[in-house]
């Protein structure tokens, strides 16, 4: 199954949750400093454990950068 993660196509197993994806990407499980949007909508952290990434979903995984 293919989703778009940060603009790049990425194979994800069916049933992959946001939490799983975040961990896969090497980010801290706790998620401090990380935000996720799917298809232009924010995914609240409370839903990461249950929200699955669908085929073709456009996922943005964002984190803190120096700036401003």
């Amino acid at each position: 199954m293919t989703a778009s993660v940060n603009g790049e196509p990425r194979e994800v197993a069916a049933g992959t949750t946001v939490t799983a994806l975040v961990v896969e990407l090497g980010l801290p499980a706790g998620g401090r400093g990380v935000a996720v949007a799917i298809d232009g909508e924010v995914v609240p952290r409370a839903e990461w454990g249950t929200r699955e990434v669908d085929e073709g979903a456009r996922v943005e995984v964002l984190t803190a950068m120096q700036g401003g």
Binding site: A35, G40, V42, A64, G68
Partner: protein
């Protein structure tokens, strides 16, 4: 004590984290600056990134002020603010809605729309605005917690291009005024405070200086100097001189005994 967005801050310097060559220099500059509030941006994760910015900032004991830098529409800015709220568990947002890539100056109508929407959504909104006194007032009217006018374009180092407008904003504002953008060196920061700004936000002037840590110290001292000078009540400008040594009691030095 600065009361800003419900916080009590001892430091009147807000530090932008952009442009530091390393996290270590950022850490040292934070310490040198005395800041209690620092900005961060939100970007796609960068696999090559070493070290965690958030860890450094948490260890430094500073509060995060996420920004919406890079957003050109109210829609994107609002969305970015919501993502930032999730990421950093804060309702603070430095709202930027850029209107022009060349100057990075804000887009006034979009900024106002985004500000209103975020205030309604429960955010504590600190908008990066231009030096227009009318827009500053509108932002205040929709419920922003402060206004943050640009002295000049971000990173330009031009300083405060129009002190007259900044003074008009200060004079009219009922929320804190933070001079944001354009600071090039210490005297610019001092001037901002003398004009009556409540705080200064500074990134490039520090992070891109040859010696960022020393410049952090310089700007910190300048902010304190400018604030103290404002409170001390400066002398008026006079067209002519006013002697600082007495003009009476001068001796008669020319010549011999009394005739």
């Amino acid at each position: 004590m600065l009361e800003l967005a419900g916080r009590q801050l001892r430091s009147r310097l807000i530090l932008g984290t952009g442009g530091f060559p390393s996290l270590e220099l950022l850490r040292e500059a934070i310490e040198a600056s005395g800041t209690e509030l620092v900005t961060v941006a939100l970007r796609r994760i960068d696999p090559g990134m070493r070290g965690s910015l958030v860890d450094v900032l948490d260890a430094a004991g500073v509060e995060l002020l996420p920004n919406t830098a890079g957003c050109f529409t109210a829609r994107d800015a609002v969305m970015t603010a919501r993502l930032a709220r999730e990421a950093f568990e804060t309702d603070l947002i430095k709202l930027e809605v850029i209107g022009d890539e060349r100057t990075l100056l804000p887009d006034a109508p979009e900024l106002l729309v985004a500000a209103e929407e975020l205030v309604d959504d429960g955010f504590t909104v600190l908008p990066y605005t231009n030096d227009d006194p009318v827009l500053a007032r509108r932002l205040e009217d929709v419920g922003c917690a402060a206004v943050m006018p640009a002295g000049s374009p971000i990173g330009s180092g031009i300083g405060i291009a129009n002190p007259y407008n900044v003074a008009l904003i200060v004079e009219h504002a009922r929320v804190p005024v933070v001079l944001d953008a354009g600071i090039g060196t210490a005297s610019d920061a001092a001037l901002a405070m003398e004009l009556g700004c409540d705080a200064v936000l500074c990134a490039s002037a520090i992070s891109r200086a040859r010696d960022p840590v020393r410049m952090a110290r310089a700007i910190r001292a300048a902010v304190e100097a400018g604030r103290a000078a404002l409170e001390a009540g400066r002398i008026p400008r006079r067209r002519y001189a006013e002697a600082s040594s007495p003009m009476h009691g001068l001796p008669e030095l020319s010549g011999g005994p009394v005739e």
